[in-house]
């Protein structure tokens, strides 16, 4: 299941609407520490967020998906420890 969700997430970076990778990131991070969720976030930002945008518009330059991936990584850790281990 984990592989399927990760594959859907990776494929949706390019072919699907942006909220599909987002959902995949949440699903992947819910049960375990998932590096693939962070990688999906990083790729979303690298593909869709221009580097020039980073320089010219501060708000649009924030790598939202990467930060969200890291937030899931760290933020869900207490829950994972409490309920799953």
């Amino acid at each position: 299941m984990r592989i399927v969700i990760a594959l859907v997430g990776f494929a949706a970076i390019i072919t699907g609407p942006w909220w599909i990778p987002l959902i995949c990131m949440i699903l992947l991070s819910a049960r375990r520490i998932a590096p693939e969720a962070v990688i999906i976030g990083v790729l979303m930002d690298f593909v869709w967020q221009g580097s020039a945008v980073l320089a010219k518009a501060p708000f649009h330059g924030v790598p939202l998906f990467t930060l969200f991936g890291l937030a899931l990584l760290w933020g869900l850790e207490p829950l994972r420890r409490r309920f799953l281990f």
Partner: protein, 249 residues
């Protein structure tokens, strides 16, 4: 906990390498995405027109075709009006005539995929695409600017990406349009100014070119300002090709 630190550090290192190398990793990711996106668009079109879903989608397709026809007529009317206005401007301000040389390039990604109001086009520095170049629809409306250029791929940021603002001229009045994504925007203008649906909206920041048309005007007697909703006269999501100007105003 060690894994969490390691992954966070790795992400920071990757971003730093990308920053120091001038966006090399981004360019690689965008090139790969453009290749995969181009293939997936072709596969999608092949499946769509193969007839597999014909019986299920006949009515939907007919409806869509009629809607597209209406949109086309509306776009043609808007384009005609834009040309008339442009003609009048050129007649009075011949010195503002601009160079319209450029290149027609394919859109290689879905516009729905990006959360940042960007899309990929299948041309880059090898095809003389320049950073900050204007990107136009086939009817001459500006949809965005090239923000990243790699060898054969470029990233275009929509003029009205969500949260962005653009100074524009609506019915002769200066207005600041707030982007809402999908080439939609809105602005507040003084209520006394006569604005009607279909009026052309232009912007000095893109060389006085048309950036859209007024779709709807909301005005209440108690308010000092009217809310003007602006949109492109054509569906941005159905764009297959765009025109990239060689000059950058």
């Amino acid at each position: 906990m060690r894994r969490l630190f390691a992954m966070t550090l790795l992400v920071i290192v990757v971003f730093l390498i990308d920053l120091i190398s001038g966006g090399t990793i981004r360019a690689l990711a965008q090139n790969a995405a453009a290749s995969i996106g181009g293939v997936s668009v072709r596969v999608f079109n092949a499946v769509k027109y193969s007839g597999i879903f014909h019986t299920r989608a006949t009515l939907a397709a007919q409806n869509q075709a009629l809607e597209a026809q209406i949109a086309r007529y509306e776009a043609q009317a808007a384009a005609y009006k834009a040309l008339q206005e442009e003609n009048a401007q050129l007649a009075t301000q011949a010195h503002l005539a601009q160079d319209n040389t450029g290149i027609t390039v394919p859109v290689v990604s879905s516009l729905r995929s990006s959360p940042y109001g960007t899309f990929l086009i299948g041309a880059g520095s090898a095809e003389h695409i320049k950073q900050n170049a204007l990107v136009l629809t086939d009817l001459g409306f500006v949809v965005g600017r090239v923000t990243d250029v790699s060898a054969h791929t470029s990233l275009v940021t929509e003029l009205f990406a969500s949260g962005k603002t653009v100074s524009a001229l609506v019915a002769g009045a200066n207005a600041t349009l707030g982007g809402a994504g999908g080439s939609n925007a809105r602005a507040q203008i003084p209520r006394g100014i006569a604005v009607t649906a279909g009026d052309i909206v232009t912007s000095g920041s893109v060389g006085g070119r048309p950036i859209g048309i007024v779709g709807k005007v909301e005005s209440r007697p108690a308010d000092a300002y009217s809310t003007v909703y602006m949109r492109l006269p054509q569906n941005i999501y159905s764009l297959r090709f765009v025109f990239v100007l060689s000059s950058t105003p």
